[in-house]
Symmetry: C2
């Protein structure tokens, strides 16, 4: 029996949401939220919840089904297991939602120095890299330092048209072909994409690459529980069945329409009220755990791209969107806390707290007199004391903050956490009456890119860009 099939263990591992420090009776009436304000949203929340339920049934919100897709997970584990033994480096070519989920899983659930460890200490698996930018120095540095014969490239793009990812794919394919020959090269590329005849899929089918499907109606930023996130995780040796079990468990918890019982809905309501009625248009996510930092980076995309919208569903101009920020405790106590304590009242902070870090590091007794107060303490204990101290100091200063508490960091709790945040995002989009699933604002930049790269049909954009370069510019200091 897997541990997640044991109800006692599951109960111990349940995430908790503590939102007391968002409330007016704790941080004061000026910036705090009242029960009445929350209750006023109950009917609106009911409408949003009903709409979500309807769109789940029609599978418009594909991510809701992912925790149930254990067949795919089993298949991924099989492919990954065979591959782990053979390859020395596993490189994900992807960007945005095609990389952030995998990175979050890798960083939260693998050894902090994974790639520096010996193969044995890595559990027999490969080094894992995510090339989520096209910086030529970084890409060349990596390609110059791997053995192509022992490397697998996982090309992840839903549409098969992402300029950055396709550029990398073309470069890596050329290198593989040159070094290994065309026939062998095909075994070093695995494509993760939609099950539609897009250009990448056509190439993959023609060349005979392994293809992993991103299910229908699963957008990039909601794809962590699809093969986009799960396959790299499985290759890294993460127990993806337990991860899905955690997501499934949270999915169950987030079914109730009672916002006082639903952690995702309550978190959504609090963010919405904080932004629209308290002026808190910045949402900081601040884990006190290195492992969770990339979860905050993953959430940063989810929140910004889903809720940052110019128009609501009816087309009215709104320019909504809390700005998400990733911070890290204790590190950012020495960088951002000054601003959070004394700057404008425009932020709410969500702490991600870990009760049991699973490793101790004792300071011991020989501290000398000046450092006597540290004697007998443990590093994990101090980390958590600092988290509590920061919460208390912010609360005493009337600064809105709340906590998501993880009993420990493991696939089950990470599955819960990521799924919670996905539901929270979709629900909050409903409260704002915007579409959380699209990203129309990035097209303008893409059009200029195509224009400057000389793509047919985008000539006017190229001309715009050239004219801009040629203009007289009096506003330069050189």
């Amino acid at each position: 029996m897997d541990r997640w099939q044991n109800p006692d263990w599951v109960k111990q591992m349940a995430l908790r949401l503590d939102f007391s420090r968002m409330m007016a009776d704790v941080i004061g009436p000026e910036h705090g939220i009242t029960r009445a304000e929350i209750n006023e949203l109950i009917s609106r929340a009911g409408v949003v919840a009903a709409d979500i339920a309807k769109r789940r049934q029609t599978n418009e919100l594909g991510f809701y089904r992912l925790p149930y897709d254990v067949l795919t997970a089993g298949n991924l584990v099989q492919i990954a297991t065979a591959l782990r033994e053979k390859c020395g480096a596993f490189i994900v070519l992807g960007i945005g939602g095609s990389a952030l989920g995998g990175i979050a899983l890798f960083r939260s659930l693998c050894h902090p120095l994974h790639n520096l460890l010996t193969r044995e200490k890595r559990g027999g698996g490969p080094r894992i890299f995510f090339l989520d930018n096209i910086d030529p120095l970084t890409c060349r540095a990596l390609l110059d330092n791997i053995d192509p014969a022992k490397t697998i490239f996982n090309v992840v793009t839903k549409s098969g048209t992402t300029t950055e990812t396709i550029s990398q794919f073309l470069i890596c394919r050329r290198m593989l072909t040159a070094k290994l020959g065309k026939k062998a090269a095909k075994d070093h590329i695995i494509v993760t994409t939609e099950n539609q005849p897009n250009p990448l899929r056509r190439i993959a089918e023609k060349e005979g690459y392994v293809i992993l499907d991103i299910p229908e109606n699963v957008g990039g930023r909601f794809s962590v529980f699809s093969p986009a996130g799960l396959f790299p995780a499985a290759v890294a040796g993460i127990n993806i069945e337990e991860l899905l079990a955690g997501a499934w468990y949270m999915e169950q918890r987030c079914r109730t329409g009672d916002i006082w019982q639903n952690p995702a809905y309550m978190a959504g309501v609090l963010h919405y009220l904080a932004d629209t009625s308290k002026g808190l248009n910045i949402a900081v996510m601040m884990p006190y755990s290195d492992a969770l930092y990339q979860v905050a980076i993953w959430f940063r995309q989810l929140w910004a791209e889903s809720l940052g919208k110019a128009a609501d569903i009816s087309g009215n101009p709104v320019h909504y969107g809390q700005t998400p920020i990733a911070a890290l405790g204790t590190t950012d106590q020495h960088s951002q806390l000054q601003l959070y304590m004394e700057g404008p009242y425009n932020k709410m902070i969500t702490f991600l707290l870990v009760e049991n870090h699973g490793a101790g590091l004792a300071i011991g007794q020989e501290t000398g007199n000046d450092y006597r107060y540290l004697a007998g303490h443990d590093l994990g204990e101090i980390l958590n004391i600092e988290g509590r101290s920061t919460q208390l100091a912010l609360t005493a200063a009337g600064r809105s903050n709340m906590s998501i508490i993880l009993p420990e960091v493991n696939p089950f709790t990470i599955g819960q956490l990521l799924f919670l945040l996905e539901v929270q995002t979709v629900f909050t989009g409903g409260l704002y009456n915007i579409n959380p699933m699209d990203q129309p604002g990035v097209q303008a930049s893409k059009d200029y890119i195509y224009g400057m790269l000389g793509r047919k049909g985008f000539e006017p954009k190229a001309e715009d860009a050239a004219a801009w370069q040629q203009r007289k510019n009096p506003y330069v200091i050189s």
Copy 2:
């Protein structure tokens, strides 16, 4: 002759500030700044500049002298050179300003995969680690995977009292003593601290550690050109003389009181006007270069901690402070750009652009039909095209943005960039009439930490914290 002694080369390597896309005649009157608004600040800017000049003379602003301290630099290089051959791992124990400068230099000027390279490919030097958090998993992971006999710990804390750093120091000293004996252990610790009899310095003197001085009146976040930043850089093999030459060059450029000629003052004026009269209270720094991402993280501390203040110099409550954000191009086009394009008009974006990335990576001609538009292009070229496209798209949408342009990334240009940002920060603090050199807001959290750790004199804080833990809390969903 070093290349930075060649005036032609220096001129080629000069940074440029292009602020056209902040201006009303380019992005429109609603969010743009006019020449008149800038000129209205000339007299105020003159007062601030005069105040800075005065405080430079009294050496209150110690960081201004650092580019001139070539004797210290020479000494650091000597120590570092001897050490590079001997040690396999160099670990900085520091947090906030004691780590961020060193990390920025290491990431911008060393190989992207430095720690994964063989010793030979690393140029004969050690692996470099910055332990800037007290996560027990991370710390243990590192300590379990180094050879103490070949490791140097550089303990960096100006005050000698930083809880996180001292905790790490005590743990590492204990480990060294246990494994190597007390006598040998002392050669594995180098302390960087103020030249004052603080607790750490007393221990260092008693035990006989090498001690490096942080000069007077150099605060943590302004210490990158002191041994706090320079020594790790030198150990990593970075040419710190050229770095200081770049800082010195920028220091010269930032002497003029004419804000239309002074890049740091103009950048300060633009940030100030954007925040106070255009409602742009978020300052995004977005490099299009992986190497510069940690510069943005370093700046994030500088800007937040210097300008995020509850009171002005006269003690009036103000709650000032733009919120700084670090983003990365092209990666964050697929994460944050949607929000930047369509969300609230509350952001200005400063791009860090690199003209010549110093490495190419060609896509080649065999793209197939669907990807024909990528044929013949190079990855660095596409990176820069994407940067230009993002600027154009933002500009067309009336979104304020500007650029700092680096001809290439090298110690000379990085020296310029960091010094420019330091002067910009101090100058902007003057415009806000706040003290950019203190951080009074972090004390409250420290007091709670001391209380919970059982330090004498902080018992009431411990009681507060205990009472908080015991309170009835109806705002938990579990």
